[in-house]
């Protein structure tokens, strides 16, 4: 790891001020991703601006949602009683990621902006467009079991590894940003970019822009939401495929549905196509299958991750069926 400067800041204003002043500065959350990547020399910031003293509060919004300070730890978020009862999929998603120790360290902001776990990205002796635009991608013909089948390009197939972000995508969370130019908001589904030709550009953030909060809009249907994660061992592993799901029925018709996928997309993958194909349709296996196929039609599998198409298909159908039976069993599920 190369030497760097460290600054702790008390609020977002100071953070941005420092970031603007310093060269090659990076914000430091829990460090669980950044420190790891610095050790591998994948990240080489000259300055770290510690933003863990920023707000970590979780507050009610006027609309009846919640707003979460970017420095809130993953553990605090997952354990919050309001999240657990109103947005259980978010708790489950966080709890099924990493380990208790890491969740105690990791922040909401850092989790959203954690970088891919692609082994070639981590190994500076290999070729990686994300590390070095134009260098090539050793994963394409190498090991890519954990890589994406959706949103890929010929230059990068790396998965966004976050579980939390998948739940947030399903919840239509909004990201509150602050930068030298002031504040703005962004739908979480707009935060991450698909790689295209420039896989090094991962988030729709301006230089020095800081995540200050994540807002969850009110969403009654989320009370019966779930997150299911499939991986190579029973715990403490990244997703091969995960599904965030919730369904609202009107009689036997799907009135509303949210589906998002982890482990398969170059970004947290909101299954817009499947949702569109489900909304207003009868809640039957056939509808589910058609909707899921509509989503996965765009999949570009490679030899090492082709199984994810079938796995994602099955998981989505199983999740929809399960949500359906939860909904039928009523509110006391």
């Amino acid at each position: 790891m190369r030497a760097f400067d460290y600054h702790q800041v008390a609020d977002s204003e100071q953070a941005i001020e420092q970031a603007v002043r310093r060269r090659q500065a990076k914000y430091l959350g829990g460090g669980t991703n950044l420190v790891d990547l610095m050790r591998e020399t994948v990240e080489r910031p000259q300055t770290l601006i510690d933003v863990t003293r920023l707000s970590r509060d979780i507050d009610e919004t006027a609309e009846g949602g919640l707003i979460i300070g970017a420095a809130a730890t993953n553990a605090a978020l997952a354990g919050d009683a309001r999240i657990r009862s109103r947005y259980p999929l978010l708790s489950r998603a966080i709890l099924s990621g990493a380990s208790a120790q890491i969740r105690n360290m990791a922040t909401v902001g850092g989790n959203l902006l954690q970088r891919t776990r692609c082994a070639y990205f981590y190994d500076v002796a290999t070729r990686c467009n994300k590390r070095e635009p134009g260098a090539g991608c050793d994963a394409l013909e190498g090991f890519h079991r954990y890589h994406a089948i959706l949103g890929t390009s010929s230059s990068c197939i790396a998965t966004h590894p976050s579980d939390m972000a998948v739940a947030l995508a399903a919840l239509d969370a909004r990201i509150h940003l602050r930068g030298p130019e002031g504040e703005r908001q962004l739908a979480v589904t707009e935060l991450h970019r698909e790689p295209g030709e420039r896989s090094d550009l991962e988030a729709e953030l301006q230089p020095e822009e800081l995540i200050v909060a994540v807002e969850l809009p009110p969403l009654p249907m989320a009370v019966r939401s779930e997150y299911r994660k499939v991986r190579d061992r029973a715990s403490y592993a990244f997703a091969l495929v995960s599904v965030a799901s919730m369904v609202e029925l009107d009689g036997e018709t799907i009135q509303n549905v949210r589906l998002a996928l982890g482990g398969v997309g170059t970004r947290p993958w909101r299954a817009w196509r499947a949702e569109a194909a489900l909304r207003g349709q009868p809640a039957t296996e056939a509808t589910f299958a058609a909707a899921v196929d509509a989503e996965l039609a765009a999949a570009r599998p490679l030899p090492g991750n082709a199984f994810k198409v079938e796995l994602a298909r099955r998981l989505m159908i199983a999740a929809l069926s399960q949500r359906l039976s939860d909904a039928r069993n009523g509110g006391d599920a």
Binding site: A3, Y6, G31, T32, R39, R84, R92, L95, Q101, M105
Partner: protein, 169 residues
């Protein structure tokens, strides 16, 4: 820079690159806390910071200034083993002993999380206010601590016994 380590205020000037783990092991010669991977992937470096378990290898020492840090060396009180330490010996919760300090700190942190009602990935009803100890809860919550010797059963037995609560199978 200053930290409170096992109840004692300790000072050192360190490189910003120094992890909390290396601070403990190299600066303060508290080598009880172990380095198994230095990448957050094994839990051998688990310590308690203000009572919460973290992986000291991914924590920059500078970031943890002023915090209360408890390591395996600080679990026993005045020569009396912490109940979980004694239970590890009784239930053979280790073999080589290298993952053990992390397991122990993790177990103590876990018990606190459970007391505070924090759920886990295997908690069926996340909205429920009351949690019930089960073997699965315990195993999931301890899954951030690898043991290559495979002392997992002994570890779970030891922790279950030290909790003083019934752990349903």
């Amino acid at each position: 820079m200053q930290w409170t380590i096992n109840g004692q205020v300790r000072e050192a000037e360190v490189d910003f690159r120094t992890s909390l783990l290396d601070l403990l092991r190299e600066q303060f010669q508290l080598s009880g806390t172990k380095k198994g991977c230095n990448q957050g992937a094994c839990g051998a470096c688990t310590v308690l910071v203000d009572g919460e378990r973290i992986n000291a290898c991914l924590a920059l020492a500078v970031q943890y200034q002023g915090r209360e840090i408890t390591t395996v060396e600080g679990l026993a009180e005045r020569g009396t083993l912490h109940p979980v330490q004694a239970a590890f010996i009784e239930h053979d919760g280790f073999q080589c002993g290298y993952c053990t300090p992390g397991q122990l700190c993790s177990a103590v942190g876990m018990a606190g999380e459970f007391e505070r009602g924090l759920p886990s990935a295997v908690t069926q009803d996340l909205a429920a206010a009351d949690l019930e100890w089960s073997r699965d809860e315990l195993r999931e919550r301890m899954s951030g601590n690898l043991c290559r010797c495979g002392a997992y059963n002994g570890i779970a037995d030891a922790i279950a016994a030290s909790l003083g609560k019934e752990v349903v199978r």
